[in-house]
């Protein structure tokens, strides 16, 4: 466990609704070849909050609930998602089922508009977010990188707004850091988490350097050649990016500014 960052005398924790977490890396749980590798990778990230999907039980084998036991017994908090939902109605039902099954008000809201890009259907997303916030859910809303949509989600009471870096599972990194920066400037009072499209450590660090409150990733670790090693890299990247942001970076300059003194330089004979 790394030393906790302290800002202004307070621990640099992330508050999502009534939950407080120290790690700013949220992790997905899919795509691992076996449960042990998933557990090893999650441990290496230092994450405290992991996402799960809501799906029908397997009628042929009802002993499958051991997956939840694996996570809960290791102390992970769960963030159920509404992956696979295309309408507000579907998303609301899945969220309600998730709350009942897992006894949490947290929900990662995804309402998808297109199967190729998995970009959100903004109209249905906003409708679902409103319904769920009104029903007492702590909504973490996966979103596109449109500042206006993000602001609407924040204004209607989402506990976090989560714009994508690039499409889910694409590993392209932050394709539009300009928009992500605009979103951060526009939304000061709601936690912002970059969710989707992270590919490697520098992407995660870049998101944190922009001042985002956290990063959610899955495929960057599960599809790495060595997932546990990448998991550790992500942990360090999130911490480094966060520290760099809090440290206040130097300004960018057009021209050089010498970093060695210019006085008393050695002179050759005239």
């Amino acid at each position: 466990m790394s030393d906790q960052v302290v800002t202004n005398g307070h621990a640099d924790v992330l508050r999502l609704g009534s939950m407080t977490i120290s790690s700013r890396l949220l992790m997905g749980t899919s795509g691992y070849p076996n449960p042990q590798l998933m557990l090893d990778a999650l441990e290496a990230t230092g994450t405290e909050l992991v996402t799960v999907a809501i799906r029908r039980v397997n009628l042929r084998d009802t002993s499958e609930e051991s997956f939840l036991d694996l996570l809960l017994s290791r102390g992970y908090r769960l963030l159920p998602n509404t992956a696979g939902c295309y309408t507000a109605k579907e998303a609301v039902l899945v969220a309600q089922l998730a709350r009942e099954a897992l006894e949490t008000d947290l929900i990662k809201l995804e309402v998808i508009g297109d199967d190729e890009t998995l970009l959100p259907d903004v109209e249905q997303l906003l409708r679902a977010a409103r319904l769920l916030v009104d029903d007492g859910f702590d909504v973490l809303a996966y979103c596109n990188d449109d500042p206006i949509t993000c602001r609407k989600l924040a204004d209607l009471g989402c506990r976090a707004v989560m714009p994508l870096a690039s499409p889910i599972g694409s590993g392209q990194g932050l394709v539009n850091p300009y928009n992500l920066q605009l979103i951060r400037e526009l939304i000061q009072d709601t936690p912002l988490i970059v969710d989707a499209g992270i590919g490697t450590a520098s992407d995660a660090a870049q998101a944190m350097e922009l001042g985002y409150d956290g990063v959610l990733l899955n495929t960057a670790v599960s599809d790495a050649q060595h997932p546990v090693m990448m998991a550790a890299a992500m942990r360090h990247a999130i911490e480094a990016g966060r520290l760099a942001y809090l440290a206040g970076r130097m300004p960018r300059r057009t021209y050089a500014q010498a970093s060695s003194p210019t006085e008393r330089r050695v002179a050759l004979g005239q």
């Binding site: 997905g28 749980t29 899919s30 795509g31 691992y32 998933m38 996402t51 799960v52 999907a53 809501i54 799906r55 029908r56 039980v57 009628l59 009802t62 002993s63 499958e64 609930e65 997956f67 939840l68 036991d69 769960l78 159920p80 998602n81 992956a83 109605k89 039902l93 309600q96 089922l97 998730a98 009942e100 099954a101 897992l102 889910i168 599972g169 899955n218 495929t219």
Partner: protein, 76 residues
């Protein structure tokens, strides 16, 4: 002495299933291999509405009911 029970058709997780008329959600879960008193991460919806676990033992299923029994699995 055997009882005469009517069978009804319901849809369970997308599959057609014949159950005895008047079967409660709790009884169906038991038939499926779950312990309704110790649900551990499952939830139930009937006809697109969640049925809270407190009502499982009193909610009787009817003909053509669409039942979804869900749990949490790996997801991003």
């Amino acid at each position: 002495m055997s009882e005469i029970t009517t069978e009804i058709q319901v849809t369970l997780n997308g599959e057609q299933r014949a159950i005895a008329s008047g079967t409660t959600i709790a009884e169906l879960l038991r038939e499926m291999g779950f312990d309704p008193l110790n649900p551990k991460g499952i939830a139930v919806a009937v006809n697109d509405e969640v049925v809270l676990k407190g009502r499982w033992s009193t909610s009787e299923l009817g003909p053509s009911d669409r039942i979804e029994v869900i749990t949490a699995l790996q997801g991003g």
